[in-house]
Each structure stands twice: as C-alpha cells, then as structure tokens.
C-alpha cells in the first residue's frame, strides 16, 4: 500500500511540526464509520512511548475546506470549555499538507456503536449515567461564548431542509404537512445564537464502562438555537430500538437534570418538542436525499437505495407526533 506508506511519512512529519516527538508512525489503518470522510487510526512511536491518534480527512477530490474549518473551530472551543473529547493536534483546510483538508486528533477510548451501548452488559453502569452526562455535555457545548464562534454560520433550519427536499424533487403530502405545522408553530427566536453541535446523538459519542468519554462528529456544527441538539437527540431513529426516549437508553428527566446542572436552567420543553419534530422531518428528507444520491447516479450503493424506504418510518412518526400536539 504505497499510498498508506506516504501518508504515514506525512503524519510523522506533521506530528514533529506540531512539536510532538515521533520516530515513526505505525499501525496506520482505515476505520469504517460510514461518514463522508476518511477516518484513519494510527500509533506514533517515540522511543518506548506509544501514542494513538485519529486522522479524519476529506476523500481525494471531495475537499470541503469550510466544513473542516468549522469543525476545527468547534472542536477547539468545545474542548476548552470542558466538553469531553479528543484534543485537536493540527488541522488544515488546504491540500498542501496531507493531500486534502483534515483534522488530526488524539485517540479517545470508547465504544460508538449504538446497538452495543444499548444492549451489552459491560455498558450497564454507563447506561445509568449517560442521560445525565449527555445533558451536561450539551449544556457545555451551548455555553461556549459567542466571541469564540467567529466564522461559524447560521442557516434557517426549515428553509435548509426545504431546499434539500426540493432538490430531490419527491412530493410527499405527509412531509408537506410537517413543513406547514413547523412553520406555524415556530418558537420565538432564541436570543443566544449558541454553538450547536448539529448531530448530537448516540452513535456520535464514545462511551466506556463508566460513561461518556467523547463527543465526536462535529461536521454539522453551526450557530443557532441550542435546543436543536436536544430535540435531535430525542428523535426516534436515534433510539436504535431502545425503549427510552433519549437515545433509547435514558429518560427526559435524566437529560434535563444534567442540562440544568451545567446551564443553571431547565430547557424549555415546548421548544425541545418543536426541534424533535423538526429533527424527524430532517431525517426523513435526509433519507430521501441518500436514496437520491444512488438513483441520480452520484454514488451507486445498495445501502443508499435501501434508505429510501426508511422515509416511511419518519412519516409514520411525524403523523404520530403531530397527532399529540
């Protein structure tokens, strides 16, 4: 694998340029993780010391420098304000250093796979505390001062979803009902335009036997209403079959208690509800979009094709949620 060998050499040079001693990079291997980025794990050797790192890099020809820059701003600020996660060692939005925009960070131990977190005996104790810890972590993300968010953008959430829906070009009455109801019931604009993780859910966090170790996957970070993150976390799709409303493994009381401990106030549950509904609509449109990527020929994949029929699960949930309000 000559490409991997070149990457290993480049990573060793990059670590030394950041002031970290490194004789050699070993165990470089790609991780699967189903995202739009390549993810690599590797170990840096310095004498008898071994340190593990993670590289996330845009695929060749799919450079997204803005996204990488946003993620670097967020990761740096979040880490400074006590959100558990990796330390950002270096990053670039250019193509000159490691071929394409990348983020190089320390490795954090923990499990991300939702089905294991929900069912394996070794995470039983973690499940007891995770709801509260997710609340605390979300509140820490949202408490990052606005002065540290320069360069992060904000979009109208409903318009952004509508834009993607129109791009796919499917016409679905249930989704139109949801668009209308969300527009009619829109909560007052929150005063604070907080740091919003944008994909805060089980599957994007790491957990060990004692609880939360890292908040990952900041690709969709932006500024906006902080309660977006709590609503998204409570969308049914992110319960992975688990019985409880928060990620399948925690109660609202756990989540809101943890949030209140850090934020000093309990989140407005009416606003969380609105974002839960919006999150369900958003996921429906993402399912349509994924299928569209296959059928339009952008990326042919049986997995993307199959996601198309998952829209119906979201439509079912939207009708259920709308019926309760």
């Amino acid at each position: 694998m000559p490409e991997a060998a070149a990457l290993a050499t480049g990573l060793a040079e990059e670590l030394r340029a950041c002031g970290r001693a490194c004789d050699e990079v070993v165990d470089l291997r790609p991780l699967t993780g189903g995202s739009s980025r390549e993810t690599w794990a590797f170990t840096a050797i310095d004498g008898s010391q071994r340190s593990r790192f993670i590289l996330r890099r845009d695929p060749d020809g799919e450079a997204d420098p803005v996204r990488t820059r946003h993620e670097a701003i967020a990761l740096t600020a979040a880490s400074r304000h006590g959100v558990p996660g990796p330390e950002l060692v270096s990053w670039s939005d250019g193509e000159d250093r490691l071929g394409s925009p990348y983020l190089l960070m320390t490795h954090v131990d923990g499990e991300a796979i939702p089905r294991r977190l929900l069912r394996d005996e070794q995470y039983a104790a973690a499940r007891e505390v995770l709801g509260r810890q997710l609340g605390q972590a979300a509140a820490r993300v949202h408490a990052v001062p606005e002065s540290e968010l320069d360069g992060l953008s904000e979009a109208d959430p409903l318009e952004a979803i509508r834009e993607r829906y129109d791009l796919v070009g499917q016409h679905r009455p249930v989704l139109e009902v949801a668009f209308r109801r969300l527009a009619a019931d829109r909560p007052p604009r929150s005063e604070r335009r907080a740091l919003v993780h944008g994909d805060f859910r089980v599957g994007n966090v790491l957990v060990d036997a004692s609880g939360l170790t890292a908040v990952l996957d900041w690709e969709l970070v932006h500024r906006g209403d902080p309660l977006e993150d709590l609503g998204w976390l409570c969308v049914r799709a992110w319960r992975f079959g688990g019985p409880k409303p928060v990620g399948g493994l925690a109660t609202f009381a756990d989540l809101f208690d943890g949030y209140e401990e850090v934020a000093g106030a309990r989140p407005d549950v009416d606003v969380v509800r609105w974002w839960q509904l919006l999150g369900t609509l958003n996921w429906a449109v993402i399912c349509l979009w994924q299928a569209h990527r296959h059928f339009s020929g952008m990326t042919r994949s049986v997995e993307l094709a199959a996601i198309g029929r998952r829209v119906i699960e979201q439509e079912h949930d939207l009708l259920r949620l709308l019926g309760e309000s």
Partner: protein, 117 residues
C-alpha cells in the same frame, strides 16, 4: 404520481440489489444484509393485497387523483381547514406503506413527548 410504495419502486430496489451482487462490494457481509433487507421489502410488497388501485381509492376520498397534486395543495395551505380529514387518510396510506417497508416500526412506542417529562 400514484405509486403506493414509490421510492424506490420494487423494480428500482431489485436493480440496486442486482447491481450490488455484481459489484466489488458483493463479498461484504454488511452490504449483503442490507441487500437481503431490501429484498425482504420487495417480497412483502409482492405478497400484499393492496396496491396502486387502493392508493387511488384513498386519494379519491380526499377528492384528488394524484398524490403529487395533494402534496402541492397541502403546501399551498388548501388543507389547513380540513386538517383532520387529511391526516386520517394520510395515516391509512402511511401505515400500509410501513407494513411493507418495516412492519416492526408499527409497534407502539413508549411516551416520547418531552412536554410530559
């Protein structure tokens, strides 16, 4: 357009599986499970009693003969005053689609309304 199970259609789903079986990904256990799942949907669709004619009947209850037209009407607010009538029919159609796409998702869920926490 009036297609009960529409996107992707059974033919599109089968095409995606066929393409997968001939691709480099064919030896992946993960993608094989996804392909089997997709064929399971097609299998249920082929066995189902209700089809496009049933959808047309349900739409006729609302006085429309095309689902795209209905979507446009909802978008324009034409159904705001007859919301309950609309949602009753949409629920029937959605449940029928779900019986094919993922019948397990029809199981009742525990209360997940944060306003009742």
């Amino acid at each position: 357009m009036n297609s009960l199970h529409r996107y992707p259609s059974a033919a599109e789903a089968v095409e995606a599986v066929r393409e997968f079986l001939r691709s480099d990904a064919a030896d992946s256990a993960y993608y094989a499970r996804v392909a089997a799942h997709l064929l399971g949907i097609v299998e249920r669709e082929l066995a189902a009693d209700r089809g496009d004619a049933w959808l047309a009947e349900r739409l006729a209850v609302l006085g429309v003969d095309d689902e795209d037209v209905l979507a446009a009407q909802v978008r324009d607010g034409d159904w705001d005053d007859r919301y309950d009538e609309l949602v009753a029919v949409l629920s029937e159609i959605t449940d029928e689609r779900l019986r094919v796409a993922n019948p397990r998702h029809l199981a009742p869920v525990a209360d997940d309304d944060p306003r009742r926490s």
